[in-house]
């Protein structure tokens, strides 16, 4: 019962947010404060993701000096063993919302991804300078995803995975490869976030009676 409501809300608010001239449509049974809060949080999430996408190249340039490791290089496929050995988890998978990939799953993946990269960057920034601003951006992102969840009355469990990345970073090479992999994955995840937010904006859940 909750899911269709959330979907309708997100649809209304994000659509209204992305298309300025569209009138804001609020469900009659939904408090006006909540809808405004959700809309504001969604707007800010998008803005923060844009900021992260802008800051990643600068952070990469500041931390990774290994020749050939660039954000746009194809080395990532050659670093699968390093990904495994360093224990860098893959980013949560985001998909366009559908009946199978529901909005609460989507929101929880967004939240989990932001937490994941915030912690990874936290481990890295202890030993590398140039990542603290990005780390702060991710903290902000996580804060506002949580506010979205609160506005939508979603109760997403905070799954704190143990990473312990720092204990596996023995050399500077490993450190830089870890930073490269983290930033590359973060950029990819950020693009997925943008796509997901757009998809949510255009997603029209089927009425309950249509099922």
């Amino acid at each position: 019962m909750v899911l269709p409501t959330v979907a309708a809300l997100l649809h209304c608010f994000l659509l209204a947010d992305l298309i300025q001239s569209a009138p804001t449509i609020s469900p009659a049974n939904w408090p006006a404060d909540s809808s405004a809060a959700l809309r504001a949080a969604a707007e800010r999430v998008k803005t923060l993701v844009e900021k992260i996408l802008r800051d990643v190249p600068a952070a990469h340039a500041a931390t990774v000096t290994i020749e050939g490791l660039t954000l746009d290089s194809a080395h990532t496929t050659n670093l699968q063993m390093m990904v495994t050995s360093l224990g860098i988890p893959a980013a949560p998978v985001l998909k366009p919302p559908s009946e199978r990939f529901t909005l609460d799953v989507c929101m929880s993946r967004m939240s989990a991804g932001s937490r994941l990269y915030q912690r990874l960057l936290g481990d890295l920034s202890d030993r590398l300078s140039g990542l603290s601003d990005l780390q702060a951006d991710l903290r902000d992102l996580q804060t506002h995803i949580r506010k979205m969840e609160e506005a939508a009355h979603l109760d997403v469990a905070d799954q704190n995975q143990s990473l312990d990345l720092a204990s596996r970073l023995h050399s500077n090479y490993e450190l830089q490869v870890a930073a490269h992999l983290t930033l590359t994955q973060l950029r990819s995840f950020s693009h997925d976030l943008i796509r997901s937010l757009r998809a949510v904006a255009t997603y029209r859940p089927q009425p309950a009676g249509a099922r």
Partner: protein, 835 residues
């Protein structure tokens, strides 16, 4: 006495040291104070307790003293304590820090213990806390505050506290002493979450906290100036411009935020500025902004600025220009004309000025104007076409009105009808005055006679230093309006001609014209004073007009200051129109100096000083007397001439012998009387060196012994003879005249010329030699003197001619010779006296 005291001190120090060694170094006394840090000016109480085993007090009466800094304080011993306890009360502690010491009296005093007491104020709550976010790299949040008016006088620590509610983060930042601002790094704030910020001040007397502020960091960011990407006309929408813009490159990530935008549009020609910015709320840089209700066909300059919610506005962007769609001009044109020519024959020359009325809209950028005698548009009837604001044309016969239209690329305005008003010789305007209001406006006032046919007035003005009619402006007023503030770009210190014309039902009356300045200053030059006339006791000065471009204002007066070397300075005001002044009652033979000061309403300038002197006689009198004198003299000359013709001999006797011409003279005819009168003076004026350039007088050799004593033969005494005698060979070193050889004559006689019967005949020898009077005369010396005996032959030509032989010719009558030659006569007299 001193040695005794010193020994006591040494003993006491030894005893104290001994006590320390035994008791693990404890002070002899202990001071307790109410507080070691107090409010400035508050009372301080202290007590001093001396240990019983202190060597200084064992077995002795103790007198405890208190010292604050270097002065003793009054104190009282505490009862029942055997004098080893003392208390002191400082009613008002007015030092920021001072040492309070407890002493005992010895021969001088000994300090037992001391404490430091500090005073000040508790901190005031920090004021005016404000924070601003910097969204360029690195992102920071900088807060600043005022510490409070009162100096605490104590060390005060400030800490900045932040509480982020959304992330439950609290931060405390310790601040450097004396610095009342702090920059919070990026991790210290969440961009889109409210953060509570306050400042706490703490010192030993207390603490105070500023009023907290709650802000969203992005809402406190001053954005970089945005950029206008493009500004263009909206197709098919007149008076609209579409404006595309973006945030700065560093802040483009906020493009999805709903921002507030202000658009400032001004017309490019600044004639119709629209200063009031237009606020556009809740826009995103991703979408363009349309502004409408603008003038058609007008170039606008646009600037924008941006902010998020209530954040400070960014600076204005750089300008971009755009042109709205063009349409045909609308509205009427105000016009004014001057008509000249032969009105009887209806030959009218029209000078027509126009300007846009308030309702007129050019609606295009390149507007031209057409004057036509026909209302319908077309080449037929067109008398004038120009881009300017006036045109001149000759009115076709019979036409009583013309039509004025504005044209641009999009079309033509409906024509404005202009009636031809002929000039009338009616003057109803008087007392035109102009008062500057400010640099851009003048108040024109005038008086007008009441006339039923009067319909209004025209005020026309133009810069007098610009001859182009383009600069002529005008304003129309109603008949009951006799004052007008005219606004134009009036240049200061430049003259403007302002005319007020009356408008009648049937024509234009005679104008009144004045010159005016928006601002005046002293003239740039002072004309040069010219002395026109100097009289017996007065002098008249004149001067040229100051060129218009150097007047810098309306000439108020010319003042001439003058004085002589002794007298006080006098001032005379000159006639403004005639530019002349007469200085009267001047002293003669005094040197005067004078200068002129020219004043406008904006200042004065002094000219250069001239000097002049008043003559003792009147120039006018001289001018009157001289012609009369000349005429009188002329008549006198005529009279004398007639008299002399009537008595030729007498005339010659008086005038002609002025220069003795031996060739035309007869010695016998010279009389001593004639030579003593006019002869000498005339001789001085016009010597005749050719004929008598050298004259020497020689006696016979027997008389030479007396020559030395003869003053007539001395060079010094013969100056009256002029160069002839000065060139005498008796003067040593004489080189003669320009010629090496000098013609001269030698008169030789053997006795005094006055002797009635000379024994030896006198001989004239003409000579020309550098060595005259030597033994032998040259061969070309005159052989004879033809006119010696020719009395009564004056009319005949007489001259020194070469003699036919070298033998001197004897003079027939020496007595006559002496009479005609006065010097010879004088010589003869001298010889007679000597004899």
């Amino acid at each position: 006495m001193i040695s005794t005291s010193m020994s006591v001190i040494v003993v006491l120090v030894a005893l104290v040291n001994g006590a320390r060694n035994e008791d693990d170094i404890q002070p002899c006394a202990k001071i307790q104070t109410s507080s070691s840090v107090v409010h400035l000016g508050s009372p301080v109480t202290a007590s001093c307790v001396i240990r019983e085993d202190c060597p200084l007090v064992i077995g002795r009466a103790v007198h405890i003293l208190w010292r604050l800094g270097d002065r003793f304080l009054p104190s009282s011993p505490v009862a029942n304590e055997s004098g080893r306890v003392s208390e002191v009360v400082i009613p008002s502690f007015n030092h920021t820090r001072e040492f309070l010491t407890c002493c005992v009296r010895t021969s001088t005093y000994q300090v037992l213990e001391g404490v430091e007491i500090r005073a000040g104020y508790p901190p005031e709550a920090p004021q005016n806390l404000s924070c601003q976010t910097n969204l360029t790299t690195p992102n920071t949040l900088t807060c600043s505050w005022d510490p409070g008016q009162q100096e605490t006088l104590l060390d005060t620590e400030y800490t900045l506290h932040t509480e982020i509610r959304d992330s439950n983060e609290n931060h405390t930042y310790e601040l450097l002493p004396g610095v009342h601002r702090y920059t919070i790094p990026r991790y210290g704030f969440v961009l889109f979450s409210d953060v509570k910020i306050y400042v706490k001040a703490v010192n030993e007397l207390g603490e105070a906290t500023s009023a907290p502020i709650i802000l969203e960091p992005v809402s406190s960011a001053k954005f970089d100036p945005p950029t206008i990407l493009k500004i263009q006309a909206v197709p098919k929408r007149y008076g609209c411009l579409k404006l595309s813009w973006s945030l700065s490159q560093q802040q483009v990530w906020m493009r999805n935020l709903q921002l507030n935008l202000e658009v400032r549009l001004t017309t490019a020609d600044s004639s119709q500025r629209r200063e009031q910015p237009i606020l556009v709320n809740r826009v995103r840089p991703t979408r363009s902004v349309d502004r409408c209700r603008l003038l058609h066909g007008t170039q606008y300059l646009a600037q924008i600025r941006v902010r998020y919610q209530q954040s400070p506005w960014s600076e204005w962007s750089s300008s971009q220009s755009g042109v709205t769609l063009e349409s045909a001009p609308t509205g009427r044109l105000d016009s004014w004309m001057r008509v000249s020519g032969d009105h009887m024959n209806k030959q009218h020359n029209i000078l027509l000025f126009w300007k846009p009325s308030k309702q007129f809209r050019a609606n295009g950028q390149n507007v031209s104007y057409i004057v036509s005698v026909k209302k319908q548009p077309g080449e037929d009837g067109k008398v004038c076409s120009t881009m300017g604001n006036y045109c001149t044309f000759q009115l076709p016969g019979g036409a009583k009105k013309v039509y004025l239209s504005a044209v641009n690329a999009a079309g033509k305005s409906s024509p404005t009808e202009v009636r031809i008003y002929l000039p009338k010789a009616r003057a109803v305007i008087s007392d035109v005055t102009v008062i500057p209001q400010d640099d851009r406006s003048l108040l024109v006032q005038w008086r007008s006679l009441l006339s039923s046919s009067l319909t209004g007035f025209v005020v026309e003005w133009s810069p007098l230093l610009q001859t182009d009619l383009f600069f002529t402006q005008f304003e129309l007023t109603a008949r009951n309006q006799t004052l007008l503030v005219i606004t134009d770009s009036f240049e200061p210190y430049k003259p403007y001609g302002i005319s007020v014309y009356p408008r009648f039902k049937d024509g234009i009356g005679l104008p009144q014209t004045v010159n005016a300045y928006s601002r005046q200053k002293a003239p740039s030059m002072v004309p040069k004073i010219q002395i026109k006339k100097i009289g017996k006791s007065h002098v008249e000065f004149t001067w040229d007009e100051i060129p218009l471009n150097q007047r810098n204002g309306i000439i108020q007066n010319y003042k001439v200051f003058y004085c002589d070397t002794k007298g006080p300075i006098s001032v005379v005001n000159a006639d403004l129109e005639k530019r002349r002044v007469v200085l009267r009652d001047l002293n003669t033979v005094s040197l005067y100096e004078a200068f002129m000061m020219v004043s406008t309403f904006g200042g004065s300038l002094n000219g250069s000083t001239i000097h002049f002197e008043i003559d003792s006689f009147d120039t006018v009198a001289v001018v009157a007397i001289v012609p009369v004198s000349v005429i009188g003299l002329f008549f006198m000359v005529i009279f004398i001439a007639m008299t002399s013709f009537s008595n030729n001999k007498r005339l010659k006797g008086h005038f002609w012998p002025a220069v003795p011409d031996p060739a035309n003279s007869s010695i016998k005819r010279w009389t001593s009387e004639s030579t003593q009168g006019s002869h000498l003076s005339l001789d001085n004026e016009e010597p005749n060196p050719m004929y008598l350039s050298h004259l020497s007088f020689l006696d016979d050799p027997v008389k030479l012994s007396k020559e030395d004593d003869d003053p007539w033969l001395s060079a010094e005494d013969t100056s009256d003879l002029g160069e002839s005698i000065c060139g005498s060979p008796f003067i040593p070193g004489y080189s003669g005249s320009n010629s090496d050889s000098v013609p001269y004559v030698t008169v030789t006689f053997s006795g005094p010329c006055s002797s009635p019967t000379p024994k030896d005949p006198h001989v004239y020898l003409r000579s020309e030699s550098t060595q005259p009077l030597l033994e032998t005369e040259e061969s070309f010396s005159p052989k004879c003197y033809h006119n010696i005996a020719s009395v009564g032959m004056q009319s005949e030509q007489r001259f020194f001619g070469p003699s036919h032989d070298s033998v001197p010719e004897r003079v027939a009558d020496p007595g006559i010779l002496c009479d005609d030659f006065p010097f010879l006569r004088a010589l003869s007299l001298r010889h007679t006296e000597i004899d």
